[in-house]
């Protein structure tokens, strides 16, 4: 069964450093998402991406964040200058174009620890 993959599984970085989290969505999917989950809290929407552009972003997704789909298979989330409060699990998800199907498939997540 196809699945969403994410790398790395755990990233430790120092405050102020740039990080890139990588995702490979399911190959025929067209909608892509990043969510984050701070420890012990609920999953929060960050950004959605469709047709090679951001379709919606949350208040969390400020100028320090950016997304890219550089090569038709990878989908990346970049945090330009990490802050302590960026420490969280980051989940990538993708959705296909099947009519009346709204199920998103989630990757296993990347745990980001900012020290």
């Amino acid at each position: 069964e196809p699945e969403v993959t994410q790398t790395p599984s755990h990233q430790v970085t120092q405050m102020g450093q740039e990080v890139i989290l990588r995702c490979v969505p399911i190959s025929n999917h067209l909608y892509f998402y990043w969510y984050r989950q701070i420890l012990g809290q609920k999953v929060e929407f960050l950004v959605s991406f469709y047709n090679n552009e951001i379709s919606e972003k949350s208040e969390i997704f400020d100028d320090q964040f950016s997304v890219e789909r550089p090569d038709g298979s990878n989908f990346t989330l970049k945090i330009r200058s990490t802050k302590l409060e960026d420490s969280a699990m980051y989940f990538c998800a993708s959705k296909g174009l099947r009519l009346h199907s709204y199920e998103q498939y989630f990757g296993p997540g990347t745990r980001l620890t900012v020290t």
Binding site: K42, V43, F106, G107, G109
Partner: protein, 113 residues
Amino acid sequence: GESVGLHLPTLSVQEGDNSIINCAYSNSASDYFIWYKQESGKGPQFIIDIRSNMDKRQGQRVTVLLNKTVKHLSLQIAATQPGDSAVYFCAETLSSGTYKYIFGTGTRLKVLA
């Protein structure tokens, strides 16, 4: 903004008993609802979904009930098993636009042997 709790509510049930997990959703315009299960260290896994034109949907050992009047969802798990131990989240979305999910506060289900 949405309120975020630091402590997940926990439901403890005996193995073999039925579990009922509740969720309140926020947007009365939402027309598609999903339950996800999250095991420790893993991403959310789809369990069951329901559209707003339905009140009830059954799967294998799971049933979702939707009450649009009070914006409430519930997930019923029959004959709860140790493998059901996880955090359960509901999510809501619109069947148009970006299809982003808004997740509810999770519930931790503990199955007691």
